[in-house]
């Protein structure tokens, strides 16, 4: 089935694509971590701000990522242009925004669950020492919550890495996009997609192993 020959012809393309995949994933996860944390904290607020948090999570969870990426790449610019703003997004920007908003919403739910899992006595003990709510959150509750949700966070990292392959539909030149182009030329579906799967497997296996070590280190 030409596995060897196809690898020889595609590995440069696939590595290029993999770089884009990793770039868009890492960037979006970094921003999504902060976005998710802020969203989860807003969700605990007693002000109307919490409805922004809940509405955002509702919107992301209630729509497929394919719809989200089309909406951000095609629909939003059209709306903005109709309103008189000339906004054009590159497929990388659109992909980054989609993955960030998507992962941010799921991470906020992960954080929310972890914060709730920290014993309420921890917050009380910190407050009884004179710490404000924010100080108690930062010094006592969040450090424990992050440890609790580490396995779920790693899971979200993996999901986002894999979801990035969907962004190829709007022309992001990730590994999936490169593979599709090559298959279009050569008709070597089996060999090409086998290698794509192997690339993903290798990356995710490495990621999982690193995560396991980190987890062992920080467990309390």
């Amino acid at each position: 089935m030409n596995l060897g020959k196809v690898f020889g012809e595609t590995y440069e393309l696939l590595f290029q694509g993999l770089q884009v995949t990793i770039q868009v994933t890492v960037l979006s996860l970094l921003i999504a971590f902060v976005l998710g944390l802020i969203t989860s904290l807003l969700g605990f607020s007693k002000t109307p701000l919490r409805w922004i948090s809940k509405g955002y999570v509702w919107l992301v969870r209630g729509t497929p990522i394919m719809v989200q990426v089309f909406y951000i790449y095609f629909a939003l610019p059209q709306l903005l242009q109709a309103l008189g703003y000339d906004v054009r997004l590159t497929s990388f920007m659109a992909g980054l925004i989609t993955l960030t908003l998507n992962a941010g919403a799921y991470m906020s739910e992960i954080f929310r669950g972890a914060i709730l899992a920290v014993n309420s006595g921890q917050m009380e003990a910190a407050r009884s020492l004179g710490l404000s709510k924010g100080q108690a959150m930062r010094k006592v509750v969040l450090p424990q919550a992050i440890r609790i949700c580490l396995p779920s966070l790693v899971n979200q990292f993996i999901i986002t890495l894999k979801d990035s392959s969907i962004i190829s539909v709007i022309g992001l030149t990730d590994i999936m996009y490169q593979a599709k182009i090559y298959v279009g030329r050569s008709m070597e579906s089996f060999a090409t997609y086998t290698w794509v799967a192997v690339f993903y497997l290798v990356i995710i296996t490495i990621l999982t192993q690193i995560a396991k070590r980190v987890e062992k280190k920080v467990m309390i």
Partner: protein, 246 residues
């Protein structure tokens, strides 16, 4: 001299359940007051109202001349002067013993790192746990954890200490070490309000014992009087029950 803690006509509801039904209480500087009574009588709720971990429904609480039931009062500042020790210790599991003790003074910028470290050493000596300074809480026994929790509260240099059943979660052989630390604290003149089931501690260390039941202070007396000559029938019934099981 006005009392250090003044509680006037305090009521507390949880939903429709009235847990405190008009509490009046004064605690003077240096006094050790023990709250005893059956579970569900409102002892812990009363204690937790003093540093506003619970918000009273109505009534007045004045601590060190500050009316803490006013909504304008910054409770974070008030709480710095009121230490609290919990039944479940509530040590911070992700911090070492030293960090548990020095975290709040450092975070609130009351001490430099060196001062906070010195204070931690001094306090750990006092509770007899200096050799545990760099271990994590999970490596300590329950009694040791509670002694660290007392040291943590003392690191803020409070002038009032609240104890919420500090020995109830301990194995029996560890109760003594915690009570010893508390007795020393009482002897040094700390104002203490202690919710406890340890009648021995109440007898030895308290200046005054209050018996609470159904959200009311039913009887108030010196320990000698309370334990040798209780007046209220509910007190007699309660003391008979708890003292006969010993």
């Amino acid at each position: 001299m006005t009392a250090q803690i003044q509680i006037k006509n305090l009521h507390k509801y949880f939903e429709k359940l009235e847990v405190l039904k008009g509490i009046n209480l004064e605690v003077h500087k240096g006094e050790v007051v023990c709250l005893i009574g059956p579970s569900g009588s409102g002892k812990s709720t009363l204690l937790r109202c003093i540093n506003r971990l619970e918000d009273p429904t109505s009534g007045e609480i004045i601590v060190d001349d500050v009316k803490i039931t006013d909504s304008s009062v910054n409770m974070n500042n008030v709480r710095r002067h009121i230490g609290m020790v919990f039944q479940q210790f509530n040590l911070f599991p992700h911090l070492t013993v030293k960090e548990n003790i020095s975290m709040a003074p450092l975070e609130l910028k009351l001490k430099t790192k060196a001062e906070a470290d010195d204070k931690a050493v001094e306090l750990l000596k006092r509770v007899g746990l200096l050799e545990k300074i760099d271990v994590m809480p999970r490596q300590l026994s329950g009694g040791q954890q509670q002694r660290v929790a007392i040291a943590r509260a003392l690191a803020m240099e409070p002038d009032i200490m609240l104890f919420d059943e500090p020995t109830s979660a301990l194995d029996p052989e560890m109760v003594g070490e915690v009570l010893a630390v508390m007795k020393e604290l009482a002897a040094m003149g700390m104002t203490m309000v202690v919710v406890t089931h340890e009648m021995g501690f109440a007898k030895d260390a308290a200046d005054r014992v209050l018996f609470m039941d159904e959200g009311i202070i039913m009887e108030e007396a010196t320990p000698e009087e309370m334990f040798s000559n209780p007046k209220n029938p509910r007190t007699i019934e309660f003391l008979n029950k708890v003292l006969s099981t010993k």
